[in-house]
Subunit: 339 residues, 2 copies
Amino acid sequence: MSDITIVDIAKQAGVSIKTVSRVINREEGVGPATRARVEDLIEKLGYRPNVSARSLSSRRSYLIGVVFMRVGAYHYVGEVQVGAMRACRRAGYHMVIEQVDDPGQARGPGLEQALKAGRFDGLVLTPPVCDDPEILAIIEAQGLSYVRVAPDRDFGRSPYVFMDDQQAAHDMTARLWDLGHRRIGFIDGPADHGSARRRREGYMTAMAERGARVRPEWIAPGDFMPLSGLEAGDQLLGLPEPPTAIFAANDSMAMGVLSAASKRGLSVPGDLSVVGFDDGPLAESSWPGLTTVHQPIAEMAEAATEMLIEGFGDPRFRSRTAARQLDYHIVERGSSTSR
Amino acid sequence: MSDITIVDIAKQAGVSIKTVSRVINREEGVGPATRARVEDLIEKLGYRPNVSARSLSSRRSYLIGVVFMRVGAYHYVGEVQVGAMRACRRAGYHMVIEQVDDPGQARGPGLEQALKAGRFDGLVLTPPVCDDPEILAIIEAQGLSYVRVAPDRDFGRSPYVFMDDQQAAHDMTARLWDLGHRRIGFIDGPADHGSARRRREGYMTAMAERGARVRPEWIAPGDFMPLSGLEAGDQLLGLPEPPTAIFAANDSMAMGVLSAASKRGLSVPGDLSVVGFDDGPLAESSWPGLTTVHQPIAEMAEAATEMLIEGFGDPRFRSRTAARQLDYHIVERGSSTSR
DNA sequence: AACGGCATAGACAACGTTGTCGTATCGTGG
DNA sequence: CCACGATACGACAACGTTGTCTATGCCGTT
């Protein structure tokens, strides 16, 4: 156990504990010589301030909560954690993760209690938690700062980080077009899902810009799960004039399309190009590898955490509707090729 | 912000703060009437003890660190977190996650600093961190309690939780045998990976018990990645007398085998049965669904966290070589059938 | 009646840091 | 040479809890 305290450092340096405190916190009012002496001692003894004492006194916990819901892909949450962790480390914060299993649980012993315990200097919220009005209300009632990652609405409610799903889908569609594909199918996501909607619109816009008439039967419904991709793919490939390329609104459904193709004995990308959206682990591990849009999830979480930390001390933080946009990019793998 | 403190409760209840403290901590020495009155008041005012003050005074942080390395599957880490979170919630602990990106980083600003800050009542270590001697040394130097999940060696070094990989692989092999398969291929994992070795041994034992001679070419090398599964599958299916069933040492490689089969125009499970190990998200999302061994990852992490929390206060905790074994089960999906 | 023991409760000092305010010391301008 | 402001530092009281020690009341026993 790290038994040395600020008092030990102060004694050995021949200064008061307050001076040591000043050095630790990079406050001014310490002469260069004194500062150096104290810093050396801290280094030498391997002293680390006790975080509990620190937060008790300063009313800051140096703790950031990352709130998420366990839906579908572990991948998303995992990437968020990686990014948030990077930012936390840099700023000397720790990261506590808080899981909300279902909206009802928010008021149970879970989230609310955790928030009330007086921890957390701020929160990073990920979808779909960041769009849950009940949870937002609880958080705001506690007076906590928070930043949202890829929120779907209430953009003015807090700072947030996002990427342009629509433009990304547009680019991907344009890419297929440039490869010579003209009959391009699209597999939609859940109806109430904002990202899914934006992706569909990107597809539609790109097609329209190129003077292509999107036939209604080219757009098949899906729910982001692989099985729905299989069914939708089956449906599209069963058309009298089937598409030569299929753009699924996420990777999982694209995987389903690969299965559908294999069921019909079609080779990918020879007979059919398939592209997805997300660049999750599935995209790499499928065969052939999936051409898809890379979402910078870790980077978005990192940026969000950064914004949060920078905003501490600013009382008007919550109303500052800062937003940061990050870039996607298209990852070319084996599942798409020119016609 | 939760501005009410133990003092407010004490005043309103007409008792001393110490008595309130006793109620909170379920200590004895409080009369039933007093206890009830205090409890009501706590409930009514929504009071939650300030964790910083608590840990400063009690030298307990009510914080548990989950240490992991970001390798391969998000799924594993995700499940670990789910399980550990359950145990933490029950016991009123919070969960801080600490990522070790590579062994070298352990001594960098990352893990060691985090540990020194005097946080963490204990740690839960997951593979492969739990087998890293350097990291274990750092942790032990801090005098921290820890429990390992599925360690691969040094079993006497700390309490741990595990499942019987060998028996599971044995059962799975027996199952294929009972379905009528006689030529059963096996795709191995990385050479230095303990679980992989145990799974192979389970397969070998089961075959041997049934009097089957395992031809060397039935065992193909792999590295737990899907591509290696594809190659190994290709190799096995290219044999003059190809196996009728392939058992891959993990799900990712089993996915590769599915691709290999589809490349050769073989239908699964009609022409070939394929089974895996892990029951990760791939197993559900593949087509056909993968028959596989379900590893109770979340449950193992939960048990480990429980052991950790129960062990607090026991100074000889680390040397208590308690171990808890959890059960696997086989999940039947569409990728295997009788011959 | 006196006493010991138990159940219940409170007073007070930690815990290790930061915030507030006070005080030397020093250089500088008048 | 003095007044004065800046600079560098320290004393001391928070912060909200728990740990330790002590006090009170009540019961049963002798």
